[in-house]
């Protein structure tokens, strides 16, 4: 690459403040149309706002170019385990931008927003039906927020019964990090629960862990190993007999849609990630939404608000926001991430009963197909059929060819495929967790399988291709240690000075 080319490439990465030029304007405002009012004294006003000055045209060029440095589900296959990166229907975005849904204010009186409340009421009903529980609050703004809500509900339940000493929450060793973090934030002590040789909950360890201090269990079903815990009924019974309650992390609900209901299995409270199962676009890290859904024991503790319908009242005010009698309170200032709720509602409505059941069937077939096609290339720590995702291990590959799960993942990028989730769950060495989702075709899966086989060959014969991957991205592997050791978290003026001296080229 020539010097000029390098300079141009670096130029595309220049930050806004380094693109600023005094006098450029990016947004116009109408001239003042009211009689001039006296401004407050200077002592209350800021002297200067050090902000960029760029035109709209430059801003679009910059951000459009930057966008091309991203992989996205519209452009790439994303077999990212436990994240359910499925296709995001465009119809949902269009519905969510209807003015009567996108432009309404959260504090308008209920009688002005009956359509929005009806949508929320119906979505509550869909989620309650899909999970087989008693009631739903749409308030939590993400999965972890819902976990916090659910665990606070369990805490409030025990406190109300005068059993505040129940402080222990059991969490399987395969759980997402949010589970222990949410339990701790809810004031509980976390007790890790081992998995058995089949990847199910270790029943003996469970029985040894339950006592008078048990508050409950947080369990992901299917687990992050992609397995449906075949001990689940015994697990729930054991926890209940000890006076504990069961929280179900619904991160992997995609596998269970229409196949089994959490309520039938005895779960007390679960959440659903609308940005996984119900196609809210992931947005590069949100927004999501995490409705929390409770059984009869906990339904009165749901966070505020829950939309209720008064059958007898007149049509113009049938729906209203209510507060469950023992509610744990508010999770945010308003009623949850309504924009995400609209998309999920649109998605469920367009699939209906048949479509919803087809989702789980195809998600599970696709994952098992990958399992069967790649089982000769990678280690399979739990040799049984999986649900919506399959966890392989690169352990042998790493031992024999010094090629790690990270190297395999980064090499996938060269083939235009997003890496799978790796090194998770923590209990699988060199884990590669693959979730294809139901929205990928057999052709896509076949080409993925071909790529993975080719990478396995490269690992044996040309491992440097993996060690140095990815090759053609705007950045090669980055120095994460340096970023953490000496945090640079924002643009500063001195950087501009360094750049002027040619430090950036």
């Amino acid at each position: 690459m020539s010097g000029l080319m390098r300079e141009l490439a670096a130029g595309r990465r220049r930050l806004l403040m380094d693109r600023s030029s005094p006098g450029r304007v990016g947004a116009t405002l109408p001239p003042p149309d009211v009689p001039e009012q006296e401004l407050p004294p200077d002592s209350e006003l800021r002297e200067d706002l050090d902000f960029p000055e760029v035109t709209e045209s430059e801003l679009v060029r910059y951000l459009a170019q930057l966008s091309q440095f991203n992989f996205s589900i519209d452009h790439n296959f994303y077999p990212l385990g436990s994240c359910t990166m499925k296709y995001n229907p465009k119809l949902n975005d269009e519905v969510a931008s209807l003015p009567g849904l996108a432009q309404i204010h959260p504090l308008q009186p209920d009688d002005q927003v009956q359509g929005a409340l009806r949508l929320m009421y119906e979505l509550q009903g869909y989620l309650t039906e899909i999970t087989g529980l008693a009631g739903t609050s749409l308030a939590p703004m993400a999965g972890a927020d819902a976990e916090l809500a659910g665990m606070l509900m369990i805490r409030a339940y025990h406190h109300e019964r005068g059993e505040a000493w129940r402080r222990n929450v059991l969490i399987p060793d395969s759980a997402h990090g949010t589970n222990p973090a949410s339990a701790a934030m809810s004031g509980f002590d976390v007790v890790e629960l081992p998995s058995d040789a089949h990847g199910d909950t270790d029943l003996e360890a469970l029985r040894a862990s339950v006592g008078d201090d048990l508050a409950g269990l947080m369990i992901t079903l299917p687990s992050t190993l992609g397995l449906f815990d075949s001990n689940i009924l015994e697990v729930v019974r054991t926890v209940h007999e000890a006076g504990g309650l069961v929280y179900g992390d619904g991160a992997n609900l995609n596998a269970l849609l229409g196949r089994v209901k959490f309520g039938d299995l005895g779960f007390d409270v679960v959440h659903s990630n609308l940005h996984k199962t119900f196609t809210q676009p992931h947005g590069g890290g949100g927004p999501g939404a995490g409705p929390v859904i409770a059984g009869p024991t906990l339904v009165d503790y749901l966070p505020e608000p829950v939309v209720v319908r008064r059958a007898s009242s007149d049509e113009s005010a049938a729906y209203s926001k209510g507060r469950p009698v023992k509610s744990i309170g508010r999770m945010g200032a308003f009623h949850g991430n309504f924009g995400a709720l609209v998309r999920a509602y649109s998605y469920i409505s367009t699939l209906g009963r048949e479509g919803i059941i087809q989702v789980s069937e195809d998600a599970v077939i696709n994952a098992n197909y990958i399992l069967s096609e790649l089982r000769d290339c990678f280690d399979l720590p739990y040799d049984r059929s999986c649900m919506h995702e399959v966890v392989f291990s690169a352990r042998s590959m790493n031992r024999d060819h010094h090629v790690s799960a990270l190297d395999v993942s980064k090499r996938l990028i060269d083939y235009g495929i997003h890496p799978p989730t790796m090194y998770f769950p923590l209990i699988v060495e060199q884990a590669l967790m693959i979730e294809p989702t139901e929205t990928e075709s057999k052709e896509t899966l076949d080409s993925f399988v071909a790529v993975m086989k080719e990478i396995a060959r490269e690992a044996r014969e040309e491992p440097h291709l993996l060690h140095e991957a990815p090759h053609d991205t705007p950045n090669t592997r980055v120095d994460e240690a340096r970023a953490a050791r000496r945090p640079e978290l924002r643009w500063r003026r001195r950087e501009a000075a360094e750049q002027d001296q040619g430090g950036e080229g």
Binding site: G26, V54, G100, G285, G336, S349
Partner: protein, 443 residues
């Protein structure tokens, strides 16, 4: 309409694909793959409606949308934590791009530089706007930013109480209680006029402009907090910072804000984006995602999620917060808003809100039966004491095509919190005054 032959436009597998895949897997039917589910609970009745086609769903959604009184069709004077400002067209254009909208959290920096660099821009602009040293990549909303600020102050000071002025949005206090109750942290709501805080207080929480729209004396509360060894957590309106002194100017330790005002539709309450900023010395105690600058193996500038040992996926139960999926796309909306308005545009928007709201106040104050009970400087919201209960005033306003302000009669007699931004035209403002005037006569 749905029928047995329903085919989802989102699932490409045909019956023949499924047959071939099941053969490869070595099972005779998909049902065999679900056999770990206890038989008695397998394949339950699922009571959902039949699928709707795109045309049917669109029509139904338009019907629901049409049942709501949408600001835009109505003049709207509601604020109280969610604000209508003009949103430049490029905000939706940029954030609607698939590359931003349908990408995952940027754990893989080589394929996420677009998200990472724009988040770095967000952190930069939020730092500059608040006058703070550093900002994270965003929290769920302003209220949870404030609550996380209180928790962070408790971690830093190792104290177990937080004090909030009684002029903080009462909904924020409710969220604060949800977040703190289980962690053994008590919330004291203290008088703004004579706040008392003790040596167990970790933080003083001040909102400016406050819930009623008026500016608080940041310097005074900063001195008070620091004299007691507590931190100052300052909640601000980002648009107001186009003209008013930022928290960094009065030595706030943590600043929180609702970013919605910058480029995000009111959307019935969410998704929004919480801004979270702090002093340099506290960055390792921050919750949420943080993007840092680094280099790649060829020495080129790159951005990456950093200080991840604070976070739940590494630290688990000892993380600074449980937050995972946040609001990256909404942060991008605010980033585009800030960048397109820039140095002068931010000031002009702020001044337009100030001018118009003060014009509205001057008209209403003159009306018989109406008064402004609060002294001081307000930004874009103010309380009006009405001759009638605000619920009745609002009912009559709606008949005239106006969505009135928030009922705050629990704090001020027949009090209504009126919000006027640059998005309100002079005609709307004068229409409001005229409508109120008619009612004043009737009352």
């Amino acid at each position: 309409m749905g029928s047995e032959s329903f085919r989802s436009p989102y699932t490409p597998n045909t019956d023949s694909d499924r047959r071939r895949m099941l053969d490869a897997i070595g099972v005779s039917s998909a049902a065999e793959l679900f056999e770990d589910i206890p038989e008695e609970h397998r394949d339950p009745v699922l009571d959902l409606a039949a699928p709707l086609s795109e045309m049917e769903l669109s029509a139904y959604a338009r019907e629901l949308s049409g049942m709501n009184a949408a600001p835009g069709d109505y003049a709207c004077f509601l604020g109280a934590g969610s604000y209508r400002h003009h949103i430049p067209a490029i905000v939706r254009h940029i954030t609607g791009r698939s590359e931003y909208m349908t990408s995952y959290t940027p754990y893989q920096p080589e394929v996420s530089q677009g998200t990472l660099q724009t988040e770095y821009e967000f952190q930069t602009l939020c730092s500059l706007l608040t006058g703070m040293d550093a900002a994270n990549a965003g929290m769920y909303d302003g209220s949870t930013s404030l609550a996380e600020g209180a928790l962070m102050a408790a971690r830093i000071t190792r104290r177990d109480r937080v004090a909030a002025l009684d002029t903080v949005n009462p909904r924020f206090i409710e969220v604060l209680r949800t977040y703190t109750r289980s962690q053994g942290i008590a919330v004291d709501v203290v008088s703004r006029d004579s706040p008392e805080i003790g040596d167990r207080t970790a933080a003083l929480l001040v909102q400016s402009p406050n819930f009623f729209g008026y500016m608080e004396d940041g310097g005074r509360f900063s001195e008070l907090a620091h004299s007691k060894g507590a931190l100052l957590v300052s909640y601000v309106d980002p648009i107001s910072l186009g003209m008013f002194r930022p928290p960094g100017d009065y030595d706030a330790d943590i600043a929180a804000a609702e970013g919605q005002a910058m480029g995000v539709p009111t959307t019935f309450g969410g998704p929004y984006v919480g801004i979270f900023a702090c002093k340099e010395r506290y960055v390792r105690q921050m919750p949420g995602r943080i993007v840092g600058k680094t280099v790649d193996t060829r020495g080129r500038t790159a951005y990456v999620l950093t200080l991840q040992t604070r976070e739940q996926h590494i630290r688990r139960e000892r993380a600074t917060s449980n937050i995972c999926t946040s609001v990256a796309l909404i942060a991008l909306m605010s980033t585009v808003y800030m960048a397109s308005h820039g140095k002068h545009g931010m000031r002009r928007v702020a001044e337009a809100c100030y001018q118009k709201s003060h014009y509205a106040a001057s008209l209403i104050e003159e009306l018989p039966g109406y008064s402004l009970p609060i002294e001081g400087t307000f930004f874009q919201e103010f309380v009006v004491e009405c001759p009638l209960p605000p619920s009745e005033v609002n009912r009559r306003l709606l008949e005239r095509g106006i969505i009135g302000g928030l009922d705050v009669s629990d704090r001020y007699r027949n009090g209504m919190l009126v919000c006027v931004t640059e998005a309100n035209t002079r005609e709307e403002i004068e229409g409001l005054a005229a409508a109120l005037s008619e009612m004043g006569g009737a009352g």
